[in-house]
Symmetry: C2
Subunit: 228 residues, 2 copies
Amino acid sequence: MTKRVLDLWSEVDVIAGYKTYIDLIRPWVAGKKLVSTGMRQEIDRCREVVEIALEGQRIALVSSGDAGVYGMAGILIECLEEKDALDTPLEIIPGISAANAAASLLGAPLMHDYAVLSLSDLLTPWEVIQKRVKLAAEGDFVMAIYNPKSKGRQDQIEWVRKAVLEYRSPATPVGIVREALRGESQVVITTLEEFTQSPIDMLTTVIIGNSNTRVVGPYMVTPRGYVL
Amino acid sequence: MTKRVLDLWSEVDVIAGYKTYIDLIRPWVAGKKLVSTGMRQEIDRCREVVEIALEGQRIALVSSGDAGVYGMAGILIECLEEKDALDTPLEIIPGISAANAAASLLGAPLMHDYAVLSLSDLLTPWEVIQKRVKLAAEGDFVMAIYNPKSKGRQDQIEWVRKAVLEYRSPATPVGIVREALRGESQVVITTLEEFTQSPIDMLTTVIIGNSNTRVVGPYMVTPRGYVL
């Protein structure tokens, strides 16, 4: 949570968000009017936020990580557009995205060019995701993978493993972080050859190293290229 | 600055960093011992930090944005390795990287898969950078470009413009943000065709939209794919 967010709570009348996130911030928002909704109700949530704002109330919409990365910022702007209300005052406050949080727990895997990808095919054709994985692998980008698995989607990450192995060594370091910086984080550093044998679920971020990424003691590090 | 960083200042004895960053945090660190160094002295700065830590003092090394993205986290771990001191207690605190800060000022351009690239060829061969730009463009990744120009390096961004035009429409939105969330931010939303006519320097982050990115009122938005 940034200083801007800590200051924000006193400036708004209402706080809205997915139930789990509202629960996380409860200690900071005692006495505020709270509007919480369930998962996969993003559009309804945004429409409700816009309605409340158009009534003249100051409302904060809470997103996890960075609202601007697979978060609520885009859909909220589209809901303002739908209501012809794009002149409504809006501040988007950036946060620590899961890739950056996971990286901080692994060491420094994102020190060089990287690609951020989601494997969720709910809103993106799987063929588009496959193409991006292949090109990122070919470009030797470090890869930060969001939504690697869900209950109904178990096999994509294994496809990714095989696709990246076409371009990188089986020994390439891979970091797996569950619930990064949210309570009890679980951190594993393993290899491209073996990483899909570790537990991975929808709360996990997977970071695949590039051809220079090394394991340095307890850390996963992608060197920037300085010569010591 | 995150809550963790605000809490940190009281936990350390010494604070080190590039002079400009030390100046930015001066209001929070009154009375602390400060060690500031100039630009391009990253290795010396890290070695000094390691020495102070090995003397038993608690020291914070300040980086701008996210220390884990083109920042000091990796080189610090390599300096610990050099001194055979990898068991030294180390906490890497993630921050808001320039891409995420710039995105928040532009609207929501990073709502879908994106690639983070630096055009600095000080430590990376220009041919590697060129290859990555082409592959990211082909993969329809939103592109967040760090270090687009420096005093001695003016022409690469024009090469990038032409390379991306091979894959994307001239009307593709491009956002240019200078000094994102650091004092007086300057924000421009323009097009792939024209963006190199806007002022760009080493304090600028450039975000090139993908094939779905739209200008929505005053915002640049890459839709996630929700149907309203």
